[in-house]
Homo-oligomer: 360 residues x 4
Amino acid sequence: MDSDLLLNIDDYARAARARTAKDTFDYFEGGALDEITLRENTDGWSRLKLYYRVLASVGTRDMRTTVLGQQVSMPIVVAPTAFHKLACEAGEIATAHAAKAAGTLFILSSLSNTAMESVFAQAGSPRWFQLYIYKDRGITLELVRRAEAAGAEAIVLTVDAPGLGTRERDSRNSFRLPDGLTVENLAPLGKGNMPDVEGSGLAAYVKANLKSDLGFDDLDWLCRSTRLPVVVKGVCRGDDARKAAEHGAKAVVVSNHGGRQLDTAPATSEVLAHVVDAAGDRCEIHVDGGIRRGSDVLKAIALGARAVLVGRPVLWGLCVDGEQGVMNVLEILRRELDEAMLLCGCTRLEDIGKWVLDPK
Amino acid sequence: MDSDLLLNIDDYARAARARTAKDTFDYFEGGALDEITLRENTDGWSRLKLYYRVLASVGTRDMRTTVLGQQVSMPIVVAPTAFHKLACEAGEIATAHAAKAAGTLFILSSLSNTAMESVFAQAGSPRWFQLYIYKDRGITLELVRRAEAAGAEAIVLTVDAPGLGTRERDSRNSFRLPDGLTVENLAPLGKGNMPDVEGSGLAAYVKANLKSDLGFDDLDWLCRSTRLPVVVKGVCRGDDARKAAEHGAKAVVVSNHGGRQLDTAPATSEVLAHVVDAAGDRCEIHVDGGIRRGSDVLKAIALGARAVLVGRPVLWGLCVDGEQGVMNVLEILRRELDEAMLLCGCTRLEDIGKWVLDPK
Amino acid sequence: MDSDLLLNIDDYARAARARTAKDTFDYFEGGALDEITLRENTDGWSRLKLYYRVLASVGTRDMRTTVLGQQVSMPIVVAPTAFHKLACEAGEIATAHAAKAAGTLFILSSLSNTAMESVFAQAGSPRWFQLYIYKDRGITLELVRRAEAAGAEAIVLTVDAPGLGTRERDSRNSFRLPDGLTVENLAPLGKGNMPDVEGSGLAAYVKANLKSDLGFDDLDWLCRSTRLPVVVKGVCRGDDARKAAEHGAKAVVVSNHGGRQLDTAPATSEVLAHVVDAAGDRCEIHVDGGIRRGSDVLKAIALGARAVLVGRPVLWGLCVDGEQGVMNVLEILRRELDEAMLLCGCTRLEDIGKWVLDPK
Amino acid sequence: MDSDLLLNIDDYARAARARTAKDTFDYFEGGALDEITLRENTDGWSRLKLYYRVLASVGTRDMRTTVLGQQVSMPIVVAPTAFHKLACEAGEIATAHAAKAAGTLFILSSLSNTAMESVFAQAGSPRWFQLYIYKDRGITLELVRRAEAAGAEAIVLTVDAPGLGTRERDSRNSFRLPDGLTVENLAPLGKGNMPDVEGSGLAAYVKANLKSDLGFDDLDWLCRSTRLPVVVKGVCRGDDARKAAEHGAKAVVVSNHGGRQLDTAPATSEVLAHVVDAAGDRCEIHVDGGIRRGSDVLKAIALGARAVLVGRPVLWGLCVDGEQGVMNVLEILRRELDEAMLLCGCTRLEDIGKWVLDPK
């Protein structure tokens, strides 16, 4: 038996753990407090059962779709995650290359170790920019302007982090960026470095710089301030999703920040149906959190998601083999989704419906 | 304590594991991906509770029944499983002999290591032939013709495998048939050998040869093409079962291929009642997956199944002691069903009803 | 810490295991097949929650009640269990003495190692005799006549054992009575010894001698044949309980034979409410199976049981310290029930009602 | 990684275990019998899911509230627990200082190792006195008079301990106060020492001295006997809560004595909603049991509690670092509640509602 084969996302997670410094791995893998939501996210998808159909004359699967009108080769896109140079030297450039090669959306975190201008120059389309709202609106606006100029095609506003959820692993590890790495996008704005405090440097950074009293007025302001479509990420409730759409969001991402913010938040698989019911007719609904198998993607689509974002799996790929590792991870998920569609009797994404979760 | 006693199916599984090459045992035992459905199949039966009745004047149990009009001594029949020569030298001949001795149905897999003509010549009645639809209809038709000529009494069309579900154990083991063994039925048709690829040779074989866009029109074609009754195996939904019957199937097997195809498909014990409700008045309903105790059989019958198919238990018997091992396994299940009927207050299979799952 | 203190029933089980031959302990402790019902019985009681009441002016607890009109000091009585001389030399005499000392009912198993005449002569009142119906009605009637003559005050007809449930521990241990011990009540009738077979000698004995087609006509016959009240033990369904009462039973025991007969039968705690609903107005309802704490007794009474029977706890007591051990076990349960009543706000058994299982 | 960091309550529990004599730690940590309720209390809070809201313009959190009209800085107050000198030399004085520093309510157990006069003299406001009703009403009244004189601002009547629930750890440890420590409040009344018996000395003390037939008439008497508001602690049912309010209680504490009295009592998180429904319009509802995270507090408030009491966490703090340890523990919970409010979108306690437990 070849136990070194990297067949699935968990294999990549194990391989990443073996090759990565503990504090980095913990930062990537960990969740808030007791990590209940972290586990629930993955368990939630596994618990859903697929009542597949047969004899459905399934042709070659076509999993192309659009996100905010832009073509992607599959409904699996790269979630914004911070600090890719912790995973490999090429950092966000490697990730962007891999997303481009996979023909899918790349969302760049504002907390990248590479300036957005460098990244977007080498990224394919679509490419979106994830934004935190800084206490200083000037800084925030500057980031938006630069993103527009650099070719970003949407702004993804993270709304579930008015403060940073306590991640005890990071506190114990006194997690911070090593010498030589910065929050590169913010460096020209004087916010490139984490404070040298006890405990998590990132937590201190967020507390010092990000606007904690984020409101719908901030969303209004952002929508007015950019010509780009705005995506609201981090929604956990149907009513919030509807309000976000009413305030101008073109898409909503059902997300609990990968279980890294509020512990005991519900699995996104549990929240998704409520959000689709409440706002699915007003904007696109995306989802992330705990997606580890292609069948998880199929379930998300059955519940009404347009696409799923994957974060940690991309990071594991990056840790294991840089750009190639990310490509491998994306292809694993694509292949598994393809197989799940075939075995469920679905040729196109539109064939996937609620029926697949219901035996009757 | 005599820990070598082989009292039950799990004892046979343990003994088989001890005597069988790892890659073979893994091939027989394993399921798709995370093996969630594999475990659910067995757990599903265990979870059902038997509200037995007492003082029911139970006579000598009579568990005879018919499958498609043919007499069997008990509602426990031999599921089609591939490659019996991996388990013992006599291969499918041994299994057929054992089924004959037990007075029950033997279903021969098209992926046998022994040609159907040799097997059926030594099998009792009833004997059915399991069929995959090849991309080449000529090959498919040739198989059907040979099965008819060899004495098969029904064709069991497997519909849950338009492609092979990924079985990671087989990928890691690079599972393939050892030198000297072939897919014997297909050898004269030039499809007797698995390609020599990395990963699972069986997966490559299926991808290269089987029709992946299987549809109800294929079922129609098959029903038109043979004088034998057609059984549709691999159904997970009530609506599919009803459609299969409408398209000519005389029986449907509720099955998820022993958890080897689509992982997170529901336990067959959960699906069965839905299928019986939807199609029980139009065709026979059989079930397989996770049957390990005679009480599981009784539960399946209470839910409306006519018979249960057992696959892995037969393979364990074959691994442990060839023909005699299969006979032992079938007798264990018969004896356990007999005991469960006695203790539930049922003399005949018709006495078993939904009441036994309901305390009121 | 004094880890040798025997504070509760589990302490006695552990101590008994340490002091008793493995095959004897297995015989006493084991259940049928996978022992799912064995575990469910105990888990079922634990799962029920007690919504206690406060400020209820609880006086000294009075847990006296009657069983079939006969006074007992508490609603905890000694279940019929076989072969007490396997546990201690004094055997059933010791158990009877302990029950007498505790002021509670003693039910003697027909499969005792001591003749009923000897036992009942030293037992207090009430004392009942457990009966299996033998194939030979003459033997059965002889047992009833002797029980009447020896002072038995009721006949407890076991109805859940038309055959013996397979107990794999006993099969592996080739369980049988050691030389010198017999089924003493049956010895004069030529049925005192177990056959010397492979596997469980008890199973062979039951198969050879007990009537397997037990019916309500047998109950009718028994009721006609004795002046003693008849108790039907082993009921799992409401309809059966009602029928038993209609056929003359004065009490019904909700029981699955301690998980030793039909595996995957439901916990008796789940069955009890259904039986009380169906037959509670026609006869007394008792229950056994998995009672290990005084709070379990309180829950049973809340669900409508008149008394609970305890089997294995008595055997553990007997193994550990003979008559004194049984007394200790009964006093532990009495003390725990007393405490549970106090903490639930109940002075008398009549104060215990369904309200205690319901928060509103 | 700094594994010595004390980040959360569980860290304090582990540290306390390492520094404290086993019998003391067991006394503080243990619960009744099988400790099912002990575990359920903590699990119950964890199981509740928080459907947080976003973009809620959360300002600096204001978690001030009142308990019986008295200002506290947060809805987390110090539960009455016995024998603080077992944890550290300064005993209850340390705890009172810490509560004062935290600006929150301190409830002194009548079973303290320090006389209430000494403690209350150094405690801030609010300060309440926990009372058991002694068999001797004179003693009880004397305690109330002294509490009034010493500055207590409410009397907390414990109603779930008409007898002491059996705590088997204490029985095995023969738990009693070491030489030099007494039940100081009772010493002048001749009830300062535990009897020197086998098993738990505390159990013997309670049995000898406390009124076991506690009734609503005792509550009436207490309300008549003191000018202080009376709080009824230990309620598990809606009807009892309503009756307590009707009999004069100004507040009710949903509590099962930390799982130390009636084992298999339900988690307080399950009981709370019923009590709020039944009595929330008549008196304040508080809750304790299993609160280990700030998010647990938020959930309690969402279910209608006015404040939560924390017992064991305070004791862990006391064991680890005396007064400073208690302050640390209270600040951890305050910080976690602050974070949970921020992440749930709540600036004030009034913003927390049932909506946060419901996705729609």
